[in-house]
């Protein structure tokens, strides 16, 4: 176990897990857990050594998301969304001195990054924008109707997508770093949802200005294909695996207690538990296979932009988001009324509600529609070990 994972586990067990029910019930930001992650310097993990960070890899982040997912899914999702933004910055900042200095600050001050890709008018189609960057005298201004920005209030900066210019087509997008202090956030929709309640993903009218240097020079299309999509699907799937694993831990504890109460009689839930563990195994296998595939491609922009790679990462998201709901549902059946109760040690309710966010967090139907296009383009690859 890396020292980072050990630190994350301590935060999960001692802090995030202890407050998870309160965070969920009140729909509040998991401030204690995020402070603890900051204190242990886990927010800047991906910052390379050349910029003053520990230079950890995506696998280190994936295992932490999985760990946190077991204790508090909202904390895990906030951590995951933050790391997606860091990954995009670290990979695509290029030589831009403003961004380089910002990445250094990220490591030294453990800044928390949020994201505003979704927009009113385009729904979840994050590859098109209505708002645009308005450039004047070396500065830009933008105004975005953002239906959801998770933890926008306590964050330090927001990465915002917008059209390159007011004349650009919707798909010609850029990504800009907006400092929280420079952002005017007017509250719109309040985040009162079934699950993931602690992510505080309220809606806002976001108005901001900044220096041109705060805009990443690479087109967002490349950032999205090479980094944002694959890392999102990896870190999300990891935390969903954590939720599923936690549900099965509770189910296993329940079945064991049954077995002890009536020695010699196989508990009725044991077979279902075994079956659900098989599902968990395949969910884990898919995540690890895609993680390896990402690591193998990470050195090459071309490999990351290849269509078969995109298809694989999209399928990981679809598969994991369905499996987490199915596995947590199995755990509920196994624990029965004890699982259905909100006040029992075997309670499954919060896990089930959090799990249901997975299919709508970038709607699976939308991803399937994208995959349908990719499927038309791709050829068969008959070689098993290629």
């Amino acid at each position: 176990m890396t020292p980072w994972l050990a630190a994350a586990r301590a935060v999960g067990v001692e802090i995030a897990g202890r407050h998870a029910d309160d965070v969920d019930a009140r729909g509040r930001f998991p401030a204690e857990a995020l402070s603890a992650l900051k204190e242990r310097a886990l927010l800047g993990l991906l910052v390379p050594a050349s910029e003053g960070g520990p230079g950890a890899g995506i696998a280190d982040v994936v295992v932490i998301c999985h760990e946190l997912g077991r204790h508090c899914a909202s904390t895990a999702m906030i951590y995951a969304m933050h790391q997606i933004q860091v990954a995009c910055l670290v990979r695509h900042a290029g030589g831009n001195p403003w961004l380089r200095a910002f990445i250094r600050r990220l490591a030294s001050e453990q800044l928390l990054l949020a994201s505003a890709t979704s927009e009113a008018g385009v729904g979840g189609d994050v590859r098109s924008s209505v708002c645009a960057l308005d450039e004047r005298r070396g500065r830009f201004a933008l105004t975005k109707q953002a239906p959801v920005i998770s933890y926008a209030e306590p964050c330090d900066a927001i990465l915002v997508t917008a059209r390159r210019t007011p004349q650009s087509p919707p798909s010609d997008q850029m990504l800009a770093v907006v400092l929280r202090a420079d952002a005017d956030l007017q509250a719109r929709e309040v985040w009162n949802t079934l699950g993931m309640r602690g992510t505080c993903s309220n809606g806002y009218r976001l108005a901001a200005e900044g220096e041109i240097a705060q805009i990443l020079q690479v087109p967002y299309a490349d950032i999205s294909a090479q980094t944002m999509l694959p890392t999102s699907h990896l870190v999300w799937s990891a935390l969903w695996l954590g939720i599923a694993g936690e549900a099965l831990s509770r189910a296993r504890a329940f079945v064991r207690a049954e077995a002890k109460r009536k020695p010699g009689v196989p508990p009725i839930g044991a077979a279902r538990l075994a079956e659900a563990m098989g599902e968990l195994q395949s969910m884990k296998g898919e995540l690890l296979a895609c993680l390896r595939q990402y690591e193998a491609a990470a050195g090459s922009g071309d490999a990351l932009s290849a269509l078969p790679f995109a298809l694989a990462m999209n399928n990981l998201k679809i598969l994991s988001s369905q499996k987490v709901v199915s596995i947590v549902g199995q755990a509920m059946l196994i624990c029965g009324l004890e699982g259905y109760r909100s006040d029992s040690p075997f309670s499954i309710g919060r896990l089930l509600r959090d799990a249901h966010s997975a299919v709508v967090m970038v709607n699976n139907d939308r991803i399937v529609a994208n995959n349908a296009g990719l499927a038309l383009a791709l050829r068969d690859d008959p070689e098993l070990l290629a």
């Binding site: 087509p169 919707p170 010609d172 087109p219 294909a225 269509l307 078969p308 296009g373």
Partner: protein, 83 residues
């Protein structure tokens, strides 16, 4: 070949602006070629030139400009009748 590419692009590229404004080296993605339209464009090119793009050419860069498309087609054996 580039004239034929333009014809295909006109029917399958779903670009906002007219094709006249687009030079051979203009960035088609900046002109509004979406990923969805890229797939349609690819299929239309395969039909028009009677070829199949191998997986290694199936990436954004291949369809980023008329020049890039011509280069890819040449790579998979389409002869430039104008040359």
């Amino acid at each position: 070949m580039k004239v034929r590419i333009r014809t295909v692009l006109k029917s399958a590229g779903s670009l906002q602006a007219g094709l006249d404004a687009i030079r051979d080296d203009s960035d088609l993605h900046a002109a509004g070629l979406t990923s969805h339209a890229t797939v349609n464009l690819m299929l239309a090119l395969e039909e028009a030139f009677d070829v199949e793009f191998p997986d290694r050419l199936l990436r954004r860069k291949t369809f980023s400009s008329i020049d890039a498309i011509a280069e890819a087609l040449a790579e998979i054996g389409v002869r430039d009748e104008a040359a």
